[in-house]
Symmetry: C5
Subunit: 329 residues, 5 copies
Amino acid sequence: MIVDSALYRNGERVDLASHPHEYHVMREGVRNPGDFVWLGLYRPSERELAEVAEAFGLHPLAVEDALKAHQRPKLERYGEMMFLVLKTLWYVDADDAVETGEINVFMGSDFVITVRHGRGSQLAPARHLLESDERRLLTQGPSSAIYAVADYVVDGYLSVISELVKDVDEVETSVFSPARTSDSERIYALKRELVEVRRAVLPLRDPIRRFATAEYGERDIDDDIRPFFRDVLDHLNQGAEAVDSLELLLSSAFDAHLARIQVQQNDDMRKISAGAAIIVVPTLVAGVYGMNFDHMPELHWRFGYAYALIVMASSVTALWWWFRRSGWL
Amino acid sequence: MIVDSALYRNGERVDLASHPHEYHVMREGVRNPGDFVWLGLYRPSERELAEVAEAFGLHPLAVEDALKAHQRPKLERYGEMMFLVLKTLWYVDADDAVETGEINVFMGSDFVITVRHGRGSQLAPARHLLESDERRLLTQGPSSAIYAVADYVVDGYLSVISELVKDVDEVETSVFSPARTSDSERIYALKRELVEVRRAVLPLRDPIRRFATAEYGERDIDDDIRPFFRDVLDHLNQGAEAVDSLELLLSSAFDAHLARIQVQQNDDMRKISAGAAIIVVPTLVAGVYGMNFDHMPELHWRFGYAYALIVMASSVTALWWWFRRSGWL
Amino acid sequence: MIVDSALYRNGERVDLASHPHEYHVMREGVRNPGDFVWLGLYRPSERELAEVAEAFGLHPLAVEDALKAHQRPKLERYGEMMFLVLKTLWYVDADDAVETGEINVFMGSDFVITVRHGRGSQLAPARHLLESDERRLLTQGPSSAIYAVADYVVDGYLSVISELVKDVDEVETSVFSPARTSDSERIYALKRELVEVRRAVLPLRDPIRRFATAEYGERDIDDDIRPFFRDVLDHLNQGAEAVDSLELLLSSAFDAHLARIQVQQNDDMRKISAGAAIIVVPTLVAGVYGMNFDHMPELHWRFGYAYALIVMASSVTALWWWFRRSGWL
Amino acid sequence: MIVDSALYRNGERVDLASHPHEYHVMREGVRNPGDFVWLGLYRPSERELAEVAEAFGLHPLAVEDALKAHQRPKLERYGEMMFLVLKTLWYVDADDAVETGEINVFMGSDFVITVRHGRGSQLAPARHLLESDERRLLTQGPSSAIYAVADYVVDGYLSVISELVKDVDEVETSVFSPARTSDSERIYALKRELVEVRRAVLPLRDPIRRFATAEYGERDIDDDIRPFFRDVLDHLNQGAEAVDSLELLLSSAFDAHLARIQVQQNDDMRKISAGAAIIVVPTLVAGVYGMNFDHMPELHWRFGYAYALIVMASSVTALWWWFRRSGWL
Amino acid sequence: MIVDSALYRNGERVDLASHPHEYHVMREGVRNPGDFVWLGLYRPSERELAEVAEAFGLHPLAVEDALKAHQRPKLERYGEMMFLVLKTLWYVDADDAVETGEINVFMGSDFVITVRHGRGSQLAPARHLLESDERRLLTQGPSSAIYAVADYVVDGYLSVISELVKDVDEVETSVFSPARTSDSERIYALKRELVEVRRAVLPLRDPIRRFATAEYGERDIDDDIRPFFRDVLDHLNQGAEAVDSLELLLSSAFDAHLARIQVQQNDDMRKISAGAAIIVVPTLVAGVYGMNFDHMPELHWRFGYAYALIVMASSVTALWWWFRRSGWL
């Protein structure tokens, strides 16, 4: 499905009367270097993509990747064309889960084609930001669109990560709360999500670095836009560092949780034992006065029974007090 | 055993009237650059392989490797010839196990010889895919056959890994199920299989990278086929990343399993203690009324016995209710 | 807010009659190479920073970073200008916590602008040290100010780390003290703080290395001042090593803590069991003399009761002594 | 002690009438490039080695190393001479232990001197294999002797590793057997042996890589013999990978062992508790009928006693059955 | 404090009549390249060092470092001068602890100044070894003194490590001894000491590598002395490897210790339970014969009491035997 398609000339969106599928009309609208067509697709059918591929001369391997999705982030160069794969991430509040989508970007000297998979990864905001950008990045040609997409996607990573930071804080509070919590499942789920984030963030660093640094020297990337890619790279590095920290904290939190379980078990055991001791002593007293000796003076006392009950009660009280004091109860 | 042997001329399979063992006849069929012979062997005997080695001028060290199998994936160059070792993996549903085989590939300017060990690693599908490929890769010469084999083998890795992903999901469900499970053996077995997968995937990356990138500049590999090797490399990287993730998840799952065992032990201990307390209290009551004091009014009550039983029963009930409420039972 | 602003000419602070906001007047005061303006800002408003940016020609991306703070340490070059981000750390005694701030430094050939965020990161001492430095570093131009800031910030890291070393020593003492301690929360908090320190220290090493070594060859950095940056780099490396050591020690301390909990649990269990045994034996004795056999000679002894009590008491004593000797009590 | 000494001329062993200690006579027998003397020493005395050093012009630091042994594997170049240190490994079946020895090799343009320490590291087989090699490697000069030694030593590593693989399999079986095993000591011992193997295998990779690859360009190593060193390097890599896998498996096996101990403890605890419950209930019944109430009808029943015993027995049976069913017994 | 100062001319120590503080007199004694002054200081005062710095033209940053000590090992070059920091280690038998000192070395073309901090790091032996060295290293100039110091210090590392190896062996024996040991504190202390050793050994490798290899090409280091630095580097690598192994073994030993605690706890629990069972059964018997049924034939038997006692005793014996057999007692 074609979501949006436009021709950018001299940094301005040009409205063409042509039908969105008349790709050649659009390309013919390109006049100067820096002008380009941006075609936005969402889950295109095989036929749709084949038409686009023919019109823009896309490499079959890249087209296959864009159709299948489930790639890892990468940057490929096929002759004059570049093909970039990005993973998108978004946080679903309902179940504290991270979901993933994918964006494939084809870039030639006069066009950018974005192919999007997965719900939560609309590119419309990125396009609008770029169109209204006062720094007039659009005049830099197709690489400005790549920047807009990458910046938007990486901002998405950072906001997912900041949600995960909150989740880790919650886990931490829960682990060290006096309540009996079963945090290990939560910790596992968060680790699993961090794995997901890591798989989006880490492999993207190499492509962005290639856009950002002069050493790699990707042709087609204008020098003036390089600092912007460095900015994106910086955000990626920040994300990667945050993921490392969160993983370390989760592992430490899990260890602390394990220690806590142990301590609780010990506390319970001592509580139980103290409870048992409190009952066993009066039972012994009862056993003593249940003996059948002929000569047991207490048995014949008038208040012998009361006396025995008092002995029992005071032993219970004494033990209770003693266990309290030593922290067993 | 010769499994299949054919001459490819101008990208087409040519049927020769020659006997499969008349290697020189086949080689003589090569006319143009890009034509080549593809000889497929399965567990060749020493004599069989020696004949082939002589006919194609294979290096003795490579022949020795191909005969013995049990090599690690590698790419060797002996003069004009290249020798590639790949491990094959397949998943045996019956016992959730990963089995391994090995493929050795000799490549010269006008021939490819594949030597296969282990059952589940047929190359026929790879050959057929290549022969019917509409991109006419076969015209690229022997490197197209290497691509076909590598692509096929690496696809095999990915499908094995996707089975392991399912297994890890099962383990995860089992670990966090309320049932008492003994997942540690399963986790261990999966880790063991991941080790196997890792040993196939990781060392293959370097050879494929050498095929894929211009920097390494392996002679004999045509520039047009390099993107296809990059595609294979990408799948390998994807596999390697998945293995890393699975190992991390298994370790976390094991930790969670350990925590769970601890929690269950604690739960059991509390259940046991609660049970003991419930019995010990009426025992104390019985002990009290078993004392032999002369003056124990209750003993002479008409319904003293019933009263005692009621006291016991209510203490049992009260304790039961209390332990229930505090989650010990 | 402008905290301090001065012109340095020939290594001396020059007092200008101009208003601090008349930036152009200050810049015009620059006569010779090595003269420069140092403008110190604290949490500038967007408008304030925009004025400065215009006056000194700062790159919009850098300005955006300096305004938002929450960057990771980095060094960016925009044309002739350099932009350095440093994290500041300080230790709050009240709650043994590490807090973080941020300093952004813009550097051109004739100016340095420091933008500070976060309370505990005043730069006044750094400026005064530099002004009164007898090695007359100020004559080296703006890079001397960068050095002064970096040196000051990194010294701050080392003093935070030395506080953490003390904290780890305390934890260690606590873990191995005979008392029952719950160190896991403390250990977790310290690990968390180490993560914070690590995120300040590690990424700063690359920028400082670029200032320090001739290979990187940052223009604008005078050769004579390089050894001073090497000194700062050395302190950073020392800090990074210390953080590694502390993390390792904390992990080991946690392991030891876990072992200790286990040992304590075992000790408690044995103590409890010994206690139970001491009571259960006399209970058996009482049970025996509570039997109703017709012929039980002891029951008719004159001192049978006393005898039974003595038997009980001596069994208690004997068990007590025995458990003591075997270390169970 | 001189173990074997020979002159190799044109790839053939030449028997010289000279006494083995007349080193100069042997060296004079060298005619063509590729001819060389191979002197094999076993634990030479200081004087013996000094004589050899003088005759062949060995560097004093290398001689010192060869005398002391206990070096790590390395390759040193002193002027025209090369000095190689290898660790030898062998598996002692009697106590499942790995023992280590050391071989020092001096190599000049016309001689090879091997100095051996430790029992199980005879080089005679390596020499014989080389002398009878049909590929006539000996014509390649001294580097063929180095190859023969390195190949022999590395084959030794692989066979030690395959023994360790068997040991790890045994440990694995033991860990997951239903029997109560104390595998932690065995696992520790195996880890210790893997450390030993690792210290032999890993540092040798660099020297062999230098022999194997043209990039390093060790003079004296003939191009024709390089593929043979690559073969050795490949075996070393295989060994290193196997050691990694075994360490990972041992760690996982240990974890599983720990989980198993926990589970067994829990099982025991439940068994014990069930046993206690089975006895405590009839004790309560006995307590009840030991009460002294005036009106307890059961006491006067004719078969009251039998009834009580039946109640006890059936409670025991019922509890037994119930605990069995719930898996506690 | 000046510990020793001498002029070395043509590889021989020259006794000068001058007062040790007349530095210029000593320097004037230098005649040929390779002659140099070696000044040995121990904890110099600020004034002392300032005089030396002036006489030899030392860089202020290096002087500051040498005064403060507590640097990490490093090699700095200030113009023509080199500044090397080494950590010294020694083992204090009394408390099995590793202590650290520091040596700072200034080196110019005609002088070496060693500044020592910490008790156990005398350099006199290093100087004497060098003076009496028959290889006449002293003729190589100041770098021979650096070699002498580095060799001496690194030998110190190796002897500390060999003490730690013994300690780890002891811990190992203790962990696997049948006795109840509390090894976790010992293991922690050893890990802590390994951290100390690691901080001395690892950062020194880079400076020594720079002295040892031609690639780095430190001026002032004569080619003939490079192999000696390679020897030192080799010892450093050996030390680093040993530290790695020891850390791994300690971690494994700790794990085994933890497993052992668990097993002991389980053993204790079973012992306790068996003990309890042995007492609880006769208690039940006593309870039975304490019941008040009218018709209990045993009560009226002549030897009923004896019979009951025998039943109790035999139940105790039977249980004892049974628990023994099943390994619970």
